[in-house]
Symmetry: C2
Subunit: 166 residues, 2 copies
């Protein structure tokens, strides 16, 4: 494993430990990370105790049909936006039937950027029975590294939410 993979797996282990202690199940909705968060989680033996699955919602149609992102949000804000990230995290809770959903939507690059949303822009969110948390970042690295940073960021956000005792 690379250092990135080790860091990701360690982050996944911490999150899975907190979820298990709190008896919470998790699902993921991944756009630009394309499955990397699920991969990191399932590198941990015993992850199936808490991690039930997810949706790789790469196209807008999959965001709409499989994780219930309202079409209006996609039109009004675009797929890479805070409202869509939150809707994906909420939607995957319903789609998979889990307590906690996390989401990542962004522009990994090298193309696809706009003046408003440059390459590296990513919105992440976590939704649970207690509500939602979201944040955004603008990474400045290559496509694969931007994906890794996004995966780390959403696992860190989930860890913080779980440690807040919510």
């Amino acid at each position: 494993m690379t250092n990135d993979e080790r860091t990701l797996t360690a982050a996944a282990e911490r999150v899975l430990g907190l979820l298990k202690a709190r008896r919470l199940t998790l699902g993921v909705a991944e756009s630009c990370t394309g499955g990397l968060v699920g991969h990191a989680l399932t590198n941990v033996s015993g992850s199936s105790d808490s991690f039930l699955g997810g949706v790789i919602s790469y196209s807008n149609e999959v965001k709409r049909d499989l994780v219930y992102v309202p079409e209006e949000l996609l039109i009004a804000y675009g797929a890479v936006s805070r409202p869509v990230a939150i809707a994906m995290a909420q939607g995957v809770r319903r789609a998979i039937g889990v307590d906690v959903g996390l989401s990542v939507t962004g522009i990994a690059g090298p193309s696809g950027g706009t003046p408003d949303k440059p390459v590296g822009t990513v919105h992440i969110a976590v939704a649970g029975p207690w509500g939602e948390a979201a944040e955004h970042h603008v990474w400045d690295s290559d496509r694969v590294t931007n994906k890794v940073r996004s995966a780390l960021a959403v696992l860190a956000l989930l860890e913080r939410e779980l440690r807040r005792g919510v």
Copy 2:
């Protein structure tokens, strides 16, 4: 990137090139690989031309509800079986609305093996408008390496099917 990641990304590039030349769209249904195949595909810039998304169907409920694996198959053959792999590949075509579906279901280890299905057993399948192809392997490595080998195997199976000109 590690050598494994480079090999995976190269396999993903070949598959995406073939899909694009044939104007075919792809979706994935991943159990034991947990998102690794989607991650490899989306490491390739421009993958969204052909790759629309997928389902990480880690639990049996997600296999049943999101990729339409008949409950009877899960009961009769178990989740790690050729019939379930084929049903996942067919089901994700319908779930995502794509031309081609691929699937991976297996026991990455280190626990979860049985005498019939030892750790490292994986069934993979590809389904397209032309029909289905499936194979199985029994890997003998650690959890993460078993996942990488499974991802490589299903991309190789898809590449062979596409090169057969089907």
